[in-house]
Symmetry: C2
C-alpha cells in the first residue's frame, strides 16, 4: 500500500498548502504551509506543526502564544495537492493579530473592512 505521505503531490520546493478550519464552527482560521516533516509531526503529535516560509523552519503553532491547535481531522483534496486540517483552537485565537481567524477582513463597497474583534492584545500574547 502506498505510503500516505507519498500520495501527496508536494510542490517542487517540498511544500503543500494547508487550510486550517475550526472543527466546531467550520470557520476557516488560517492558511499556511507544511513540508513532509511538519505533516509527519502533526500526525504523530496531534498538534498542528507548519513550515514557516519566512523563518525557514518548523513552526509548532502556539509554541510562543500558547494557541496550540489540536488536530481532529486531516483531509486531502481531489488533486492531492492541498491539505485541510480540522482543529480545536486553544484560546479561540488563531491569528497573530489576536483575532479568532486570520480572515477578518471583508470586502465592503470596494474596501477591506476589519469585521472581527481583537480578542486579546498581541503584546499580551507574545510578551514582546
Amino acid at each position: 500500500m502506498e505510503n500516505w505521505l507519498d500520495a501527496i503531490r508536494w510542490m517542487p520546493d517540498g511544500l503543500v498548502p494547508v487550510i486550517t478550519q475550526d472543527a466546531d464552527s467550520n470557520d476557516v482560521l488560517m492558511f499556511a504551509w507544511m513540508n513532509q516533516e511538519s505533516l509527519e509531526k502533526t500526525m504523530a503529535g496531534g498538534e498542528a506543526v507548519y513550515w514557516s516560509r519566512s523563518r525557514e523552519k518548523l513552526w509548532h503553532k502556539g509554541e510562543e502564544s500558547g494557541h496550540i491547535q489540536k488536530v481532529v481531522e486531516i483531509r486531502l483534496d481531489c488533486d492531492e495537492d492541498v491539505i485541510l486540517l480540522k482543529v480545536v483552537q486553544t484560546g479561540g485565537i488563531a491569528c497573530h493579530t489576536g483575532r479568532r481567524s486570520c480572515f477578518y477582513r471583508k470586502l465592503i463597497d470596494s474596501h477591506w473592512a476589519a469585521i472581527e474583534p481583537v480578542l486579546k492584545n498581541p503584546a499580551e500574547i507574545y510578551h514582546t
Copy 2:
C-alpha cells in the same frame, strides 16, 4: 484611498491562493487561484471566476458543469495574500469528481479514505 486590488500581495506570478467555502455549512469546497482579472470579474459579476493554472486561462467555475458559485462574501487574510470566498454552490457539487467538496479524503489509519459520496457521475456532469 488605496484600491482594494492593490491591497492584495499578489505572488510574483500574479496569482493569489483562494479558499472557497460554502456560505451555509461553512464546509471548505475547494482551493484554487486567481489573478487580478479573475478577482475583478468575480467581484463585478458575483460569480466565482478563477485562474486555471493548468489551462492558463480564466475559468468561470461552472461554465461547463453548470455548477456556478454565487459569491456571498470576499475576505482577505491578515497577511493580505490569501482570499476566502463564501459562496452558494449551484447543484451542491463543487468537485469535478461529482462530490460536494474537493476535500473528500480523510486520513484514517495512515490511509486516505474517500468518505464523501459521489452525488453525480462526472460523465453526466461534463458530457464528455
